[in-house]
Every structure is written in structure tokens, then in C-alpha cells.
């Protein structure tokens, strides 16, 4: 009987499994959507890119609906359908207007119009993912919807934006107007992202903004077209890869910052990769002529480069060791390899650029390396100053304790010497910038002012569109007004049509 019961139970379980198959959780379903989506972006087909972004958007929606607070998370990531829609439009345009692919000599008359629409659609999709449009710019401020890897998840989106704009570059770089607009937006994004990374206290948030800045700089290189696409890809991989590795590392106990050697290695690696990424852009935008845009672009990119270098050198500090018994780690870990890889790839990519025809003038080359050096130098100087101040305070606290005043040692150490800041955890979630409160406040305020202005303009446009289209909605409610519309339309038709000659 027991055997029969067991067999019967198994059969029942089997039947139940067939009738109601197990449903994968939100995490797995999202991953199953997101990973193929990211892979599709690297294919040359626009349809594949559109499907890829649609899958990524669906993955974010799937994670958001399963989040603890779906009412907040779902609207937050709903904008991801916009870039997907733009790419679907571009793909469809290529299908219905074959002349866009330069294979036929037909449709000459309207070809320019569709080429512009195509370029704008692809640029829109990529730039919005890169946080370069005013519609969804601040998304990197907040963590993603999936609980397990929330702080890391938004870093996927600028990477997707880069993939779209890099892979589909022939579609948007061939239209001069679109290219110029993209250049302005990318420079602005790089500066804003660097400012935000500089102003944020939380290290993971800073890293997310650095990723945005890296991607914007890489796409700027695509836009400027002074180096080969392969070189741009290598430079982007080195810079973006370093920052995203650090971001992922923060979720694994700040592994890349454990120990003096590792933190130093990563400081060097991120400094070199970021400088290598921005150097060709700075060289290309060096104001050799009297062009106004270039004259504005060079200092803007220079500021972004300087701030990025400052953060890379100033904020990567050794994570405090909390274990009483040290675990025997291998001498070379993935963190070591990651940092070394960046240190190798970036110079090799620059060498590749120089070999393949990128020959800057000595003046431009030297001037373009200055912002990164200035940022790194300022970071080192401020770190040294902060260390000296901390040492002095410890000394003062010890003396006070010795005199019996009983000052609390924790207060004496402070956070990077800035007493005005509230205390934060020492576990790597927030690290000192060593930049002074005033500078960080300035960065925060600048970013907020720009974003608020953008949002106001967007909101005004949306309200106007809403006001214009609301009569249409009112007249389609299913009641008698619809039929009034019908009669009015009919009368107008009868009166106006004879006048069409």
C-alpha cells in the first residue's frame, strides 16, 4: 500500500506539474528578457535593436511589478517604452522607404525628410537611454526595481544607449543637423552627470552617474568621428567596465576596495581609463578655429573630465576591514585583474587611435591632458589636506581626553573633516569626496537647477498638448456629443469641399 501511495502521489504530482507548470519568479523572468535584449543591441539590424530595447523595457516593467512598491516603481520605468518606440519607427521606415538604405535611386523627393526622421528616431532612442534628454534624465539618481541588484541595475541603461548609438551610428551621424544637436546634448549630459557624481554622497549613486558620463563621452567620440569605432568601443569598455565593476563590487562587500594595493590599483585604473576616453574628445574639440560651439565644448568637456578624475582619485578609498579573523584571499583576484585589464586596454586603444590616423597637434594634445591631471592633482591635494586635518583632530581629541574633558573619539574623526555633514555608514555606501562641502553643494545646486528648468519646459509642452487634444477625448465619450460632432463635421464638409479647386 505504501508503495502504491508513493506511486500515486508521484503520478498526481506529475499530472499537476503538467497542468500547472511552475512559473519562474520575477527575477528569472526579467533576466530571461533582459539578457537577450542586451545581446540584440549589438546586432546591426534596427529591428533587432528595437526588439532588444523592448525586451529590456519589459524586463524593467516585470521587475517593477514584482517590487515591494509597484505603484512607485512601474511609473518610474515606464519611459523605457519611448526609446523602443523610436527604434521601431526607424526600423519600419527602412522597410517602407528602401531608398534610405542607399540601394535604390527611387523616392529622391522625400528621401531627405525620411533620412532626418530616421536619424532623429535613432538619436532619440540612444540619447534618452543615456539620460541625455530632459525627459528621464535623473533616473540614475535612484536604484533599479529588482531587489537583489537594485543599485547596479540602472547602469545597464546608458550601456544600452551606447550600444544603440555606436552600432547604429550610420543612421544618425550622416545627418549634420542631428549630429550637431547630439553633440550639444552629449556635452551637457557629460557635464551634468559628472556634477551629479561629484555632488552625491552615496558612492553607488556616484558610480551610476560616472557610468552615464562615460557613455556620454564615448558617444561623443562616435559623434566627432575622429577615431575608429573599434577604438571607441575599446575606450568605452575600459572606462565603463571599470566603473560598473566597482558598482557591482559595492554589492559584494566592496571587494575592489579591500586593501591598500587594490584601492590604489583601482584609483589608477579608473583615472587612466577615464582620461583615455576623454582625451580624444578634448583634442577633437580643441578650439583651433573661431567656432563658437567648439569654444564652448572644450571647456565643458574639460570640466567633466576634471570632475571625473577628481572623483576617481579622491573617492576610491580603502574599505575598512570588519573581520576579526582575516580570510586567506588569493594573491590575484578578479578585482586585481579587472583593474589591470583597464590599465592595459585604454593605452592600447589610444595607441590604436594614433596608429590609425588620429594625429593631434602637440599643443592640443598637451592641453587636453591637463583637465584630467588637474582633477587628479586636486584630489590628491585635498586627500592630503583632509588626512592632515584628521590627524590634527585626533591629536586634539587625545589631548583633550588626556586632560579629562572626555571628547567622543568618533566625533573627532568625523567624515573627511566636514563637521557639517550628518554621519554616514563606514561600509562603503558613502565615501568622502575630500572636496569641501561648498564645492559639492555647488555641484548639487547646479544639477538641480538645470533639471528643474528642463522639467518645467517639458511639463509646459505636455500641458499644452493635453489641452489641445482634450476636446478630441471629450467628443469621443460615447454620448450625444459624438453625434453633434458628426453633424458639425458633415455640414463643414458640404460647405468647404466645393471651395477646393
Amino acid at each position: 500500500m505504501v508503495v502504491l501511495d508513493t506511486v500515486g502521489g508521484r503520478v498526481k504530482r506529475g499530472v499537476r506539474l503538467l497542468t500547472t507548470p511552475p512559473r519562474p519568479g520575477a527575477q528569472i523572468t526579467g533576466m530571461l528578457l533582459c539578457i537577450p535584449g542586451m545581446m540584440l543591441l549589438w546586432l546591426p539590424s534596427l529591428w533587432a535593436a528595437a526588439l532588444g530595447i523592448e525586451l529590456i523595457g519589459t524586463a524593467f516593467w516585470w521587475w517593477a511589478r514584482a517590487a515591494p512598491d509597484p505603484g512607485r516603481e512601474i511609473p518610474r520605468w515606464a519611459w523605457l517604452r519611448r526609446p523602443a518606440g523610436a527604434l521601431w519607427l526607424a526600423a519600419a521606415l527602412h522597410t517602407v522607404v528602401p531608398g534610405l538604405s542607399h540601394q535604390l535611386a527611387m523616392f529622391r523627393q522625400s528621401l531627405e525628410l525620411w533620412r532626418h526622421v530616421d536619424a532623429i528616431a535613432v538619436m532619440w532612442a540612444g540619447l534618452e537611454l543615456l539620460a541625455a534628454l530632459p525627459l528621464a534624465r535623473p533616473y540614475s539618481d535612484l536604484p533599479g526595481p529588482l531587489l537583489g541588484i537594485r543599485p547596479w541595475l540602472p547602469a545597464l541603461l546608458p550601456a544600452a544607449g551606447f550600444a544603440v548609438l555606436w552600432r547604429q551610428s550610420p543612421h544618425w551621424t550622416q545627418v549634420a543637423v542631428v549630429r550637431n544637436i547630439a553633440e550639444v546634448l552629449l556635452v551637457l549630459t557629460a557635464v551634468l552627470a559628472a556634477l551629479r557624481a561629484f555632488g552625491r554622497r552615496r558612492w553607488t549613486a556616484s558610480l551610476r552617474w560616472l557610468v552615464v558620463s562615460d557613455c556620454a563621452m564615448a558617444v561623443l567620440l562616435v559623434d566627432l568621428a575622429k577615431v575608429l569605432p573599434g577604438v571607441v568601443l575599446m575606450l568605452w569598455l575600459a572606462a565603463f567596465g571599470g566603473h560598473s565593476f566597482l558598482l557591482a563590487g559595492e554589492l559584494r562587500g566592496a571587494a575592489p576596495r579591500r586593501g591598500v594595493v587594490l584601492s590604489l590599483l583601482w584609483r589608477m585604473s579608473t583615472f587612466v581609463t577615464s582620461a583615455a576616453l576623454t582625451w580624444p574628445a578634448l583634442v577633437s574639440m580643441f578650439p583651433a578655429s573661431t567656432e563658437r560651439l567648439s569654444a564652448l565644448g572644450f571647456p565643458a568637456v574639460g570640466i567633466a573630465t576634471m570632475l571625473t578624475a577628481w572623483i576617481n582619485v579622491g573617492r576610491i578609498v580603502e574599505a575598512p576591514e570588519r573581520r576579526t579573523l582575516m580570510r586567506a584571499d588569493p594573491a590575484v583576484t578578479f578585482s586585481h585583474l579587472g583593474a589591470l585589464l583597464g590599465l592595459v586596454i585604454a593605452p592600447v586603444a589610444l595607441l590604436g587611435a594614433l596608429v590609425t590616423g588620429f594625429h593631434p597637434s602637440p599643443l592640443a594634445g598637451l592641453a587636453s591632458i591637463l583637465p584630467a591631471l588637474a582633477g587628479g592633482g586636486l584630489a590628491l591635494w585635498s586627500r592630503g589636506r583632509a588626512r592632515a586635518e584628521a590627524r590634527a583632530r585626533v591629536q586634539a581629541a587625545l589631548e583633550a581626553a588626556h586632560d579629562g574633558h572626555g571628547t567622543r573619539p568618533a566625533a573627532a574623526y568625523g567624515r573627511g573633516g566636514h563637521r557639517a555633514e550628518p554621519p554616514v555608514r563606514d561600509e562603503g555606501s558613502a565615501q568622502p569626496t575630500h572636496a569641501g562641502l561648498a564645492l559639492r553643494q555647488f555641484a548639487r545646486v547646479t544639477f538641480n537647477v538645470v533639471v528643474t528648468l528642463e522639467r518645467t519646459v517639458v511639463s509646459l509642452i505636455a500641458r499644452f498638448a493635453n489641452a489641445v487634444t482634450s476636446p478630441l477625448r471629450d467628443l469621443n465619450s460615447g454620448d450625444a456629443q459624438d453625434y453633434l460632432l458628426f453633424l458639425v463635421g458633415l455640414s463643414v464638409l458640404v460647405l468647404v469641399l466645393p471651395l477646393l479647386r
Binding site: 529591428w47 518606440g85 469621443n476 453625434y483 464638409l493
Partner: protein, 413 residues
């Protein structure tokens, strides 16, 4: 006999007009029987007899003559008004009568004016007489657009799109899809017949060509704006249907004035009509199981929670109506767009692009609302009838087979 030897002809048969329409009719019968089962008092099956004529119009559009139009409209209105206890149904019938009655009257007035002024009721002869320039321009330039009015109204293209949403919202699920498809086919045929041979009268072609182009552009823009504002799933399906009316208007505008106008418009009309019959059938069933504007973070609909695979499969007709790539409907949208691009109608093409994006976004939003957020606790107790689920599967599989058949032999045959 291998499996492919059986499957290939079966799938291929979905490339014809007859088989998909027969499938739509079978689905309607299934829904009709389900309704009879839920309402034993109304045990008669006589109302179903109204559907074969409607399906016949879809299968053979060329036979939809001017005389047939008021008969079919009258039949549909009578079907909706026959049950006096069903207020929504009766109201829908009255609205249809209110819209289509004046449109038919105005069109007939226009046609009679043309007959009076030219002395003949044969269209080809009318163009030849008008080409002589003996008639006052004001007379024929008023009569000609009036004679086309019924075609535009029957297509459900904006600004005459509201009746379509009312039909899908108010009429029964077994009646609305075939009625809408038959009306639109009759509208397209009305226009095609009325404009046949107009290239022999260039002054008339100069009026009707831009009129069709403007009407289709307005249909796309107003339809898109309306679609984004709709909250009820049934009305969304209705507005998508009105966009398909706009597609046919655009196709006619693109073919207008060409010598092969008749052949070109009929080549497009066949697949367009059969797609409408199946897609409307599936989408209108699904719409009954979708939540009404629940917000972004509300629990999903019962169908989506209890039978997610059926819901996903059943969403194919809705996605196809919206022209989501990979569905048969996308071929209809893209083919029309290609024709517009090839014939130099950039304005209409731009309007079509806007409408397509709006339709695509609405379909995806509708699906997301259907899935909603995971509901905590037990699944809902109320089941989804097996007949409705079966109907969803049949409509979706039929549509998939149609898509495969089109891909196999080329879209327009």
C-alpha cells in the same frame, strides 16, 4: 503521409478569404452558444442567421453593391435593436442608425445630383460627360464628395470614428466583429466603385485625390489622439478598427488616379478584409476580459492570472490590429506605408507613423494592464468560461496561420 504534407495546405488555405472568415464565423458561433447557455430564456438560435451574410460580404467584397449596403446596415441595426431588454445593445443600434442613415441619404443625394446633371447613372459615362465641361462646376464638385461620404463613414475613419468604438463597446461579442468588418469592407468598396475610371475626368480626380489623402491623414491623427485617451478596452479595439479604416483610405489615396486603380485597390482589400474579420473577433473577446483603466499598479485581470498562456496567445489579435512587428497586422500597416512612400504621400505617411506608434503603445499598455501586479493571496474564484478561452485560442491560431500563409506566398497574393 508526412506532417508537413498535411500542415502546408491547411496553413496555405488561410491565405484565402474563405477559411479565415469561416474561422471567425465559427468563433462567433462558439460565443453565441456560450451566451445562450448563460441565458437559457433566450434559447432561440435564429439571431445567428444574421452572421453568414455579414461574413459573405467580407469573403466577396466585389459583390457588395450600392443596393446591398442599406440592406446590410438595416440587418445589423435590426439585430441590435431586437432585444428591448438589452438597453446598451439597443442604444448601439440606434446610434448606428443615426450615423449611417444621414450618411446614406447624403450620398444618395450626391449620386442623384450627378445623375441629374449628366443624364446617366453609369459612372464611366458620367466622367465622360463631365469632362465635356458643360455642367456648372459648383454642382458636380458638391455632388462628388457627397457621393463618397458613405464610404468614409462606413470605414469608420475619423472624424466618423465614434460609432466604431460604440459598436465594440455596446454590441455583443459574437456580433460586433463581423459587423464592423462587413461595414468597413462595404465602405472600401463604395469608394472604390465610385472612383473607378475617374482618371478620365482630371478635374474630378484633382478634388477626390487630395480629399482622400486629407481624410486618411485626419483619420490617423485624430484616431491616434483618441486612442491614447481611451480607457475602456472595447473602445480601444474600436478605435484601432477606425485606424484600419484609415489604412484603407490611405491605400485608396495612394492608388487613386492610376490606371490600375481597381486592381490595386482590390489586391489590398482581400487580405485587409480577412485580417479584420479574424483580428476583430479575437481582440473583441480579449477586451471583455481586460480591466477598465485600472491604473498602473492594480492586480491583473482574472484571465491573465488564471490562464496567462491563454491570455498571451489571445493577445495576438490585439497586437495584430496594432501592427506590432511579427504579426499579420504589421504586414497590412507596412504594406500601406510602402505604397504611400512609393506614390509620394509623405504627409499621409507621417500621419500613419504617428498612428502606428500610438496603436503599438496602446496595445502594449493594454497587455501590461491585463497582467497588472502580482495579486497577493488566492487566485480569483470566478473562472473564465472554457468556450471563451477556446475562442481566443482559435482566433489567435487562425491569425497565426494567416500570417504564415501570407509570408509563404507574399502579402497581396
Amino acid at each position: 503521409m508526412s506532417l508537413s504534407a498535411i500542415v502546408t495546405p491547411v496553413v496555405g488555405s488561410f491565405g484565402t478569404a474563405l477559411v479565415p472568415t469561416a474561422v471567425a464565423l465559427a468563433v462567433a458561433l462558439l460565443l453565441f452558444l456560450l451566451e445562450r447557455r448563460q441565458d437559457p430564456q433566450a434559447a432561440t438560435v435564429a439571431p445567428f442567421a444574421a452572421l453568414p451574410p455579414l461574413a459573405g460580404v467580407v469573403v466577396a467584397p466585389a459583390r457588395a453593391t450600392f443596393v446591398l449596403v442599406p440592406l446590410v446596415v438595416g440587418l445589423a441595426v435590426a439585430m441590435m435593436a431586437r432585444n428591448r431588454r438589452d438597453l446598451l445593445h439597443s442604444e448601439c443600434g440606434l446610434k448606428l442608425l443615426w450615423v449611417l442613415g444621414p450618411a446614406l441619404a447624403l450620398s444618395w443625394a450626391g449620386m442623384e445630383l450627378l445623375t441629374l446633371s449628366t443624364g446617366t447613372s453609369v459612372f464611366a459615362e458620367q466622367w465622360a460627360v463631365l469632362q465635356l465641361g458643360l455642367e456648372p462646376r459648383f454642382l458636380w464638385s458638391t455632388a462628388l464628395p457627397l457621393s463618397l461620404l458613405t464610404g468614409v463613414v462606413l470605414l469608420g475613419a475619423a472624424p466618423f470614428h465614434f460609432w466604431m468604438a460604440d459598436l465594440f463597446h455596446g454590441a455583443r461579442a459574437w456580433l460586433a466583429p463581423l459587423t464592423a468588418a462587413a461595414f468597413q469592407v462595404m465602405g472600401a468598396m463604395w469608394l472604390a466603385r465610385r472612383l473607378t475610371g475617374i482618371e478620365a475626368f482630371p478635374a474630378g480626380a484633382e478634388i477626390t485625390g487630395p480629399m482622400l489623402a486629407i481624410a486618411s491623414a485626419v483619420a490617423f491623427i485624430a484616431g491616434a489622439a483618441t486612442l491614447l485617451g481611451q480607457r475602456r478596452p472595447e473602445r480601444r479595439v474600436g478605435t484601432l478598427a477606425s485606424l484600419h479604416g484609415g489604412l484603407m483610405l490611405a491605400a485608396l489615396a495612394a492608388a487613386h488616379g492610376r490606371e490600375d486603380f481597381v486592381d490595386a485597390s482590390r489586391a489590398m482589400m482581400g487580405p485587409w478584409a480577412t485580417h479584420l474579420a479574424l483580428a476583430y473577433t479575437g481582440a473583441s473577446i480579449l477586451a471583455r476580459f481586460l480591466p477598465v483603466a485600472p491604473g498602473l499598479a492594480a492586480p491583473g485581470a482574472t484571465l491573465f492570472r488564471r490562464h496567462p498562456i491563454t491570455a498571451l496567445v489571445g493577445a495576438l489579435p490585439l497586437l495584430s490590429l496594432a501592427g506590432v512587428p511579427g504579426t499579420p497586422g504589421a504586414l497590412v500597416w507596412l504594406d500601406t506605408a510602402s505604397t504611400l512612400a512609393a506614390t509620394g504621400h509623405p504627409g499621409v505617411l507621417a500621419a500613419l507613423a504617428v498612428a502606428w506608434l500610438a496603436a503599438f503603445a496602446t496595445a502594449i499598455q493594454q497587455l501590461r494592464e491585463g497582467f497588472g501586479i502580482p495579486a497577493q493571496g488566492q487566485p480569483p474564484e470566478r473562472p473564465t468560461p472554457w468556450a471563451a478561452r477556446g475562442a481566443l485560442w482559435i482566433a489567435a491560431l487562425g491569425l497565426a496561420a494567416m500570417g504564415a500563409a501570407w509570408l509563404g506566398r507574399g502579402f497581396a497574393g
